[in-house]
Structure formats: structure tokens, C-alpha cells
């Protein structure tokens, strides 16, 4: 160890740090039968977040309010707006640039990551079949279609989980009214809420005007990262998959 390293170690050793014992307060926080003023816990924040999710859920249940609310919707790096075009006009390709199909979207996830050995497996999804890095989409994990994960569109992919840091809005989702957007609570203990888009919709990423088609998607944000799970399963199963993505699982994008 050279002088710089030795001095650094000494400086860290000399830092003025609290020397309290956390054991009792941590165990008290974990004991559901203990109702004490947990001096460092902020349950009011979590209650507020869950309450906000309930209010949004109630607003979105009223069709007339969806359009007004949708203008406010955004999560992570994704803006969500309601697509007011009729179903007939949506099925017509836009002049100049047709919508990218789900298959084409699944084939454009980014650069393939060769070494996946260091990536922790998700408990419900286990080891991903593919890992891709994209400058805007972030890191994407794919799982092949199976009995539990029906194929997305006409692809061989059953699930796509994309993770990226939240910096600014870099994606826009245009959601048909009949698909809708539903606020859901993914993990009340962690105060994690998200949006569930229960059907096919368009997604534009970065500065691209060419939207891609996506199927059912669950969006949520944890610790400054946006998670996007695209699966063709029901809401509750999607939420269960989202909840299984937890601390200690190495899903952060590169860089």
C-alpha cells in the first residue's frame, strides 16, 4: 500500500462518525407487534404514497377524468399520454414511418451482454435468457416464452425487464383509452407504486418519432431507477414479478 492509500485509510479511520448501537431500533422496526415511536421511521410518507395511489386509481376509474389526469402522468423517465385516436385510425400506418412491431421492438433491445454470470437471478423469473445494453433503454433482461410467460406478440420472448436511471423524460407512451392506465401498489412495505398498462400501446424512445408497439407493461421507480416489465400476463402476476425484483439483485444499467 503506498503513501496515498495509507493516508486515505487513516483519514477514513479518523472520520467523526456516530457510534450508536442500531440493533434494538432495527429489531423494533421489524417487529410488527411493537407500536412505539420509531424515531427514524417515516410511516407518514408511506401512508401518503399509498393514499396518493388510491386517489389516482379512483380518478382513472372514471373515463371522463382519464384524459385530464393522463396529462399529469409520468413515472421515472416515461411520460404517459392518452391516445385519443379511434382504433381504426390507430391501425393505419402513419405516413412516412410505420410503427415498429413488437417483434422488431424485441429485436432492438441494444448490445448483447456476453457475460451474465455475475447477474443475480430473479426469484420468480430465474436466470435471464438474454441481457442487452442500450444507451437510452438502459439494461434489458429477456426471458423466453414458456407456459408461465406467454410469447409477446409473435416473438419468442415471454418477458422483458428494462432498467435505467431516471434523469429526464426520455420515453413517451401513448395509451388508447380502452387500454387505460392503472395506478397499482407493488410493495406497500417499501412504498413502491407503479402504473399498469393493460394492453397494446405505442412507445417512443429518445428523440425518435418512430413509435414501437408494446404489450402489457408495468412501470415503477425504485431508488432512482425506472423499471419497465413487459409481459403478457395479468396484473397480479406482473405485480408479483415486480415485487420479486428486490435489493441485492444486480439489475443496474452499465456505467
Amino acid at each position: 500500500m503506498n503513501m496515498l492509500e495509507q493516508n486515505f485509510v487513516s483519514a477514513i479511520e479518523e472520520l467523526d462518525l456516530p457510534e450508536g448501537d442500531l440493533v434494538d431500533s432495527v429489531l423494533a422496526a421489524l417487529d410488527p407487534s411493537v407500536v412505539v415511536p420509531f424515531r427514524r421511521y417515516r410511516p407518514t410518507l408511506k401512508v401518503a404514497l399509498v393514499a396518493a395511489a388510491v386517489v389516482i386509481l379512483a380518478l382513472l376509474a372514471v373515463p371522463a377524468s382519464r384524459h385530464a389526469v393522463a396529462g399529469l402522468l409520468g413515472i421515472g423517465a416515461t411520460e404517459i399520454s392518452m391516445d385519443s385516436r379511434s382504433e381504426d385510425s390507430r391501425s393505419q400506418p402513419s405516413p412516412g414511418q410505420p410503427t415498429v412491431t413488437i417483434r422488431e421492438s424485441a429485436e432492438d433491445l441494444g448490445e448483447l451482454v456476453d457475460d451474465v454470470s455475475a447477474i443475480d437471478a430473479l426469484p420468480l423469473l430465474e436466470m435471464p435468457d438474454g441481457v442487452f445494453d442500450h444507451p437510452i433503454r438502459g439494461r434489458s433482461f429477456t426471458w423466453d416464452a414458456s407456459d408461465e410467460l406467454p410469447a409477446l406478440g409473435d416473438t419468442v420472448v415471454g418477458a422483458v425487464l428494462s432498467v435505467r436511471p431516471v434523469e429526464s423524460f426520455t420515453s413517451r407512451k401513448s395509451v388508447p383509452f380502452e387500454v387505460g392506465v392503472e395506478a397499482v401498489v407493488i410493495d406497500p412495505a417499501q412504498a413502491i407504486v407503479g402504473y399498469w398498462l393493460d394492453g397494446e400501446h405505442e412507445l417512443a424512445t429518445g428523440g425518435s418519432d418512430q413509435p414501437v408497439l408494446a404489450q402489457r407493461v408495468l412501470l415503477w421507480v425504485v431508488e432512482g431507477f425506472e423499471f419497465r416489465l413487459e409481459v403478457d400476463v395479468g396484473r397480479e402476476q406482473a405485480i408479483a414479478l415486480a415485487k420479486s425484483v428486490g435489493e441485492g439483485t444486480d439489475l443496474s444499467p452499465p456505467g
Binding site: 486515505f8 483519514a11 477514513i12 479518523e14 467523526d16 442500531l22 432495527v26 431508488e223 435489493e247 441485492g248
Partner: protein
């Protein structure tokens, strides 16, 4: 830590905690709280909320303990949770406090002789000031490598980055620290 558990490895305690043994998790907290508080302070750039951050991180770690592989090292995984918690707090509270040494605090409270202050301040205070000017990621990677002596793979796990980038990140952080010190050390 109780005498009966001192000989148990982290893996043993984790497996017990995964089966609901709260005393085992308490032993893990006791064993790693000092490190967790230190990493929280380094990540946040301040000791003010280090205990709160470490406590919150342990609560989150318990919630996620069922997904932790006992054969992996516990500290890098815990450190990752601590730093994420610290960064989240910094993002929401916009805090810009600075790390300081025990000597500096004692000097302010009159608990140390002025002559000792002069000696200590000229060395460690300058280095701590340089450390404060680094980014959180630079502070963390240097702490993980030089102080905690984590391997490159463990540093990657603690930082949540690819293992192949650790060497270059470490080199850049070291260079930036040298630049802040004006190559005096």
C-alpha cells in the same frame, strides 16, 4: 454479539435469519453496523444522517434477505443497499454537509490541546477536505478498495456496476484524489 454466535459465519447467520431467526439478524446488524454507518457517511458525504441511513438500510436488507445467496459475501450486498439508501436521501433532501474528523470536532469543542490540533489538522484535515471534493462514487470506490479491502468483483457488487469497469473507475478516482491534493501525498 452473544458468545454463542461469535464463531458463526455471516453465511450461518444469514441462513438463520432467512428462516426467521431475528436474533441472528440482530447479530448481523451488530457485526456490520460500524461498517454500514461508515459507508453511509461516505456515500452521503456527511455523518449527520449516517445512523438513520444505516438503520433504514438494515430494515431493507431484512426485507430482501430471502433473496440473498448465503454463499455470497454479505458486506458488498449490504453496502449496495446502504449506498442506494444514502443516495436516495441526498436526492430528496439536497444536503451538502461535509465529512470531518474526530480531531476537528474535538478542536471545536475544546477537547484537545491546540498543539495537537496543529499537527493533526495539517495532515488529515487536508486529506479529508480533498475527499469531500470527490464525487460520492469516487469516495466509495476508494473506501471499498483501500479501507474495506473488497475485491474487484465485490466492489462491482457493492457499486452495482459491471466488474470489468472497476479497475478503470478505481484508477480515475485515485487520479482525481491526487489532483485534489495537488500531488502533495
Amino acid at each position: 454479539m452473544s458468545d454463542t454466535t461469535e464463531h458463526l459465519s455471516d453465511a450461518d447467520l444469514v441462513m438463520s435469519a432467512q428462516q426467521g431467526d431475528m436474533a441472528a439478524f440482530g447479530d448481523l446488524v451488530r457485526r456490520h453496523q460500524k461498517s454500514a454507518i461508515r459507508i453511509a457517511a461516505v456515500a452521503a458525504g456527511s455523518a449527520t444522517d449516517a445512523e438513520d441511513i444505516a438503520q433504514e438500510a438494515f430494515v431493507k436488507a431484512h426485507a430482501a434477505i430471502s433473496r440473498f445467496r448465503p454463499d455470497a459475501r454479505f458486506e458488498p450486498w449490504l453496502f449496495r443497499i446502504v449506498t442506494n439508501t444514502a443516495k436516495n436521501r441526498n436526492r430528496s433532501e439536497k444536503r451538502y454537509a461535509e465529512l470531518s474528523t474526530r480531531v476537528a470536532r474535538m478542536a471545536e469543542t475544546g477537547g484537545i490541546e491546540p498543539s495537537e490540533v496543529a499537527v493533526h489538522r495539517s495532515d488529515s484535515a487536508r486529506l479529508v477536505a480533498a475527499i469531500n471534493r470527490l464525487s460520492a462514487d469516487d469516495r466509495l470506490i476508494l473506501t471499498y478498495r483501500w479501507y474495506e479491502e473488497l475485491s474487484e468483483a465485490e466492489i462491482a457488487a457493492a457499486l452495482g456496476c459491471r466488474a470489468g469497469t472497476v479497475k478503470s473507475r478505481l484508477s480515475r478516482a485515485r487520479q482525481r484524489l491526487s489532483n485534489e491534493l495537488g500531488d502533495e501525498v
